[in-house]
Amino acid sequence: MTAEPRIGTEEEWRAARDRLLEEEKELTRRSDELAAKRRELPWVRVEEDYRFETEDGEKALADLFAGSSQLMLYHFMFGPPYEAGCPVCSSIADTLAPQVPHLRARDTTLLLASRGPLEKLLAYRRRMRWDIGWVSTIGSEFNRSLGFLHTEEELRPFLEGEIPPTVEENARSCGTDVAGYVSEGPGMSVYALSDGTVYRTYVTTARGLEPAMAFYGLLDRVPAGRDEGGPAPLWIRRHDEYDAT
């Protein structure tokens, strides 16, 4: 625990809690406002004929909706040289996979998408026991256009600087080197299908992905919080790789 906790009475707690509640209500209000503003973004027609390798053969972006009118893709960091998926993306998939039936019932198809070959993705999915569709993007343009694939030239300043130990560790655990690991970027992209035309409606990355890491929201409600200031700030492991405790 970071700071010494203050011990109080129930009345003191109640008074402090009531004050905090006002701020939490404001957060809820702001969050609803953001959701409304997201829906005001213009839709952008997807003109390119992107292709995907799926368990049911090659498909176009419009086919991935599979009967829904909304499609949400989580761009999972699993590039061609990876031997296993990124541990942080894996923790996100832990949160996303159980949402599939609930979103499906709300006209939304949720899938994972990666650049790695489909066989590797499916083998890893079996290992992680996720019940969620996973598609492999054919070629690089799809990820590139979203900003989730970086060239060596773009990465050079980062690669020539001091590499954070957690990046090295994650690269190692994915069976690739740092350059191979960070050329993939995580993200989420959302699409609408209307009269046979696909529109891109929303894209987010980095901190925008936090809601997809349910454990962070939960840790934000316990006394020690995320507690990530220590020497090993990135503690997230694949769910089957934590040391037994």
């Binding site: 906790p5 011990i7 109080g8 009475t9 003191e12 707690w13 402090a16 809690r17 905090l20 701020e23 209500k25 404001e26 957060l27 809820t28 609803d32 953001l34 959701a35 503003k37 997201r38 829906r39 005001e40 973004l41 213009p42 839709w43 952008v44 909304q70 949400m72 923790s91 832990d94 949160t95 159980p98 949402q99 039936p101 609930h102 979103l103 019932a105 006209d107 939304t108 959302v190 609408a192 209307s194 009269d195 035309t197 529109y199 409606t201 987010t204 901190r207 809601p211 997809a212 349910a214 454990f215 939960l218 840790l219 409600r221 316990v222 020690a224 995320r226 507690d227 769910h239 934590y242």
Partner: protein, 246 residues
């Protein structure tokens, strides 16, 4: 043609960049509130509670299972519910298992509470395929002491609640049928997260958050906030094995 405004990539990018500023502001505000949450005083729990668990009777301290923090989700499943827990709470429950291992390795034990008797919780847990520890607060003051449930006389003194019971919207009537309880009893359960800390043998209550806070909503709501279609006007939920066939 779509009824929605269609734009160019450049237009989208400009609008997205503006929105990103608001998202960042919101993130900053959320971090500040999170810090304040941890400044709440800790309140020692002096009363001795006993809970029915799958492994027999346990005290609050024993529910920590050796860790120093306990986070519990209180699922609306009262003793009067004939057909199972609240579907929305059940959706949230679906999410907890896969994320639980990550919390366990951050010194947090994650469990669920409900007020129905333990044998019914065990049967429902099996039906939903859950693995988290499910603890019954049946026959204990715990749920009432910590605001996780209301006694009939307390519920009768809350005008909003009385109004909802007397003039329920149709989605709430459907909800009452889904759980198999009259609204006057069904709405006495309070969906909440409650947190405790354990230090030097003492258990402290640190935090509670209840509906309608956005945190006490099924997680799919976070994702649906990012999809193009407007949200449904009524908060209807179904258990994962009961979705109407479309």
């Amino acid at each position: 043609m779509t009824a929605h405004a269609v734009g160019t990539r450049e237009e989208w990018r400009a609008a997205r960049d503006e929105l990103a500023k608001l998202e960042a502001e919101y993130g900053e505000l959320r971090r500040k509130v999170t810090d304040k949450r941890r400044e709440l005083p800790w309140v020692p729990v002096e009363k001795e509670y006993r809970f029915d668990t799958e492994d027999g009777k346990k005290t609050l301290a024993e529910l920590f299972d050796g860790r120093s923090q306990l986070l519990a989700y209180n699922i609306m499943y009262g003793p009067d519910y004939e057909l199972g827990a609240c579907p929305g709470c059940s959706n949230l429950g679906d999410e907890l298992d896969p994320t639980r291992v990550h919390l366990n390795h951050r010194d947090v034990t994650l469990i669920c509470f409900s007020r129905a008797p333990i044998d019914r919780l065990i049967a429902y847990k099996e039906r939903m395929g859950w693995t988290f520890p499910y603890v019954s607060t049946y026959d204990s003051d715990f749920a009432f002491d910590f605001g996780l449930a209301l006694k009939p006389e307390q519920a009768g003194q809350i005008p909003e609640l009385v109004q909802m019971v007397e003039n329920p919207p149709s989605w709430l009537e459907d909800w009452s049928r889904q759980v198999g309880a009259d609204l006057k009893d069904g709405l006495r359960e309070n969906p909440s997260f409650i947190a405790f800390a354990r230090e030097d043998g003492t258990v402290y209550h640190t935090y509670t958050v209840s509906a309608p806070d956005q945190f006490v909503a099924p997680y799919n709501a976070f994702l649906l906030d990012r999809t193009p279609k407007p949200p449904p006007e009524e908060p209807r939920n179904w258990r994962k094995d009961e979705y109407p066939q479309s």
